[in-house]
């Protein structure tokens, strides 16, 4: 029998494969993510505090914090160190702003060979693109909901 034609058989095979396929330990991965994500955030806080100690206001210090984290992530991506941090830390390294920077810097490095326009230009957002699109879209939806609440609130 070369193919499984019925959906039931396919389900059965999928179930069986699930049983025999090893997976990463979830608690261990979560602990690593907590550690790495936590460290990145502590580092961010340190930048923020340092910036403030130089007399910057919250907004300015926040900008410096993001800027520094993004720069360091891009630098570590170029040096091929960031992928190693993510391999260990998983979502702990993917979710902070540094993960976002990595997802933009990595295609830029990889597709440079295909040229400035069709390589870097066209492909730099292949990974980050969906995050940007749906990030903006969901903030639009939230904005709409907020507006409606204001209308209702005004009616009372």
């Amino acid at each position: 029998m070369a193919n499984l034609n019925s959906e039931e058989q396919k389900k059965q095979y999928e179930e069986y494969v699930k049983q025999v396929t090893p997976v990463h330990s979830l608690p261990v991965n979560m602990a690593k993510a907590f550690l790495v994500g936590g460290l990145i955030c502590v580092f961010g806080q340190w930048i923020l505090n340092t910036a403030k100690s130089y007399g910057m206001n919250q907004e300015m210090a926040g900008a410096w914090c993001s800027l520094t984290l993004v720069f360091l992530s891009a630098l570590l991506t170029g040096l091929n160190i960031y992928p190693k941090i993510t391999k260990f830390g998983g979502a702990g390294a993917l979710v902070p702003i540094t993960g976002f920077a990595n997802s933009v810097a990595a295609p830029a490095v990889e597709y440079k060979k295909e040229g400035q326009v069709f390589g870097i230009g066209a492909k730099i957002f292949t990974i980050a693109g969906p995050v940007i699109l749906y990030g903006i879209f969901s903030s639009w939806v939230l904005g709409l909901i907020y507006l409606m609440f204001q209308w209702w609130g005004g009616g009372f």
């Binding site: 396929t21 190693k84 993960g99 295609p107 060979k113």
Partner: protein
């Protein structure tokens, strides 16, 4: 009749393997088969400008090594059967353009070496070419770029994922005598068990390997014990387990004979390769560097070589299609 059973051929005319050449990257060179390969490239770019060009360079070098070891001249090669994993098989096209010999470009995913050996031996057995070449390659970085993410993008690979081998293997086949003969082939069917997980290719390909091995045993009316070794391409640890179970359901047991190139090329404990090696270069380089010498020396007298492939593209994957498998079997025998 050379055609036997439903999908096999038993060659009536002699097909010999005159020589094999292999070249791999540093990680493969550090693996358990490190001292078997003809050449190990420390530089992942092989002195070229891109991953794709580097893979082409691997093919060119493997082909040159095989030609040299088979003691033939480049101009004597009647045709080259070559393939790789990249879209439109560019690694092969640019790898062998300088040879100026006739070429048939193939795609069978990671089973391509089986396909190339099968078609090459048919050409020789049919008398259409006295000397032909089978050649395939893969490169970790070009495959990651083609099928997954840019190399510097951070992600966690599941334990079922395999590691694409950076390497290339080539074999020169011909009708002049040597110690190793290809006596038959079993062509593989596209086998779809509906699995959609491209990060578990062993499980996607195991049903195809099972189907082709079972067909080979049936068509040739053989027991698994007829073979000293039954060697699959890149099923890896997960796929091997599934292959054993599926064959057991059909009443066949190959646990004593079975080896897998993907499991042999890397050390799972120390090299962080998860399920094992994969890619067109995996089966090809292990065949040329390790399996062929074992048969040449008579250590193994009868071997069934079964490279396996997962037939998907990025597009089919994103469009929600399953990942069908294919496996091509080649019967290799020692000549007394």
């Amino acid at each position: 009749m050379p055609a036997i059973g439903k999908q096999s051929i038993e060659f009536q005319n002699d097909v010999f393997i005159l020589g094999g050449g292999s070249i791999v990257g540093k990680k493969e060179g550090d693996g358990p088969l490190g001292n078997c390969f003809d050449q190990i490239e420390e530089d992942p770019m092989i002195g070229m400008n891109s991953w794709e060009e580097a893979e082409s360079a691997l093919q060119q070098k493997a082909a040159e090594l095989a030609i040299q070891k088979a003691s033939v001249l480049k101009d004597q090669i009647r045709m080259i059967f070559a393939g790789d994993l990249l879209a439109q098989s560019i690694a092969s096209s640019f790898g062998i353009v300088s040879f100026e010999r006739p070429v048939y470009g193939l795609f069978g995913a990671c089973s391509t070496m089986g396909e190339a050996l099968s078609l090459g031996s048919m050409a020789v057995a049919g008398g259409y070419g006295d000397i032909v070449m089978a050649l395939t390659s893969s490169h970790f970085a070009s495959a990651e770029k083609e099928f997954r993410n840019p190399l510097e993008y951070g992600s966690q690979r599941p334990l079922s994922a395999s590691w694409t081998v950076t390497g290339s293997g080539a074999c020169v086949l011909g009708n002049r005598s040597s110690k190793v003969k290809i006596t038959g082939v079993t062509a593989g069917k596209i086998t779809d068990y509906g699995l959609k997980d491209a990060q578990n290719m062993g499980a996607c390909m195991a049903p195809a390997a099972c189907d082709t091995i079972a067909a080979n045993l049936k068509d040739f009316m053989r027991e698994p014990s007829w073979y000293d070794k039954i060697i699959t391409g890149d099923l890896g640890y997960v796929g091997q387990r599934i292959l054993f179970d599926l064959l057991k359901d059909r009443g066949q047991d190959i646990t004593k004979q079975h080896l897998d190139c993907g499991m042999m090329i890397f050390d799972q404990e120390t090299q962080d390769t998860h399920a094992g090696g994969s890619g067109c270069g995996c089966a090809a380089s292990v065949f040329a560097s390790y399996i062929l010498p074992q048969v040449e020396s008579g250590t193994w007298k009868k071997v069934l070589f079964v490279p396996t492939g997962a037939l998907m593209s990025k597009t089919s994957f994103y469009e929600g299609q399953s990942v069908p498998g294919i496996a091509q079997a080649v019967v290799i025998e020692y000549v007394e």
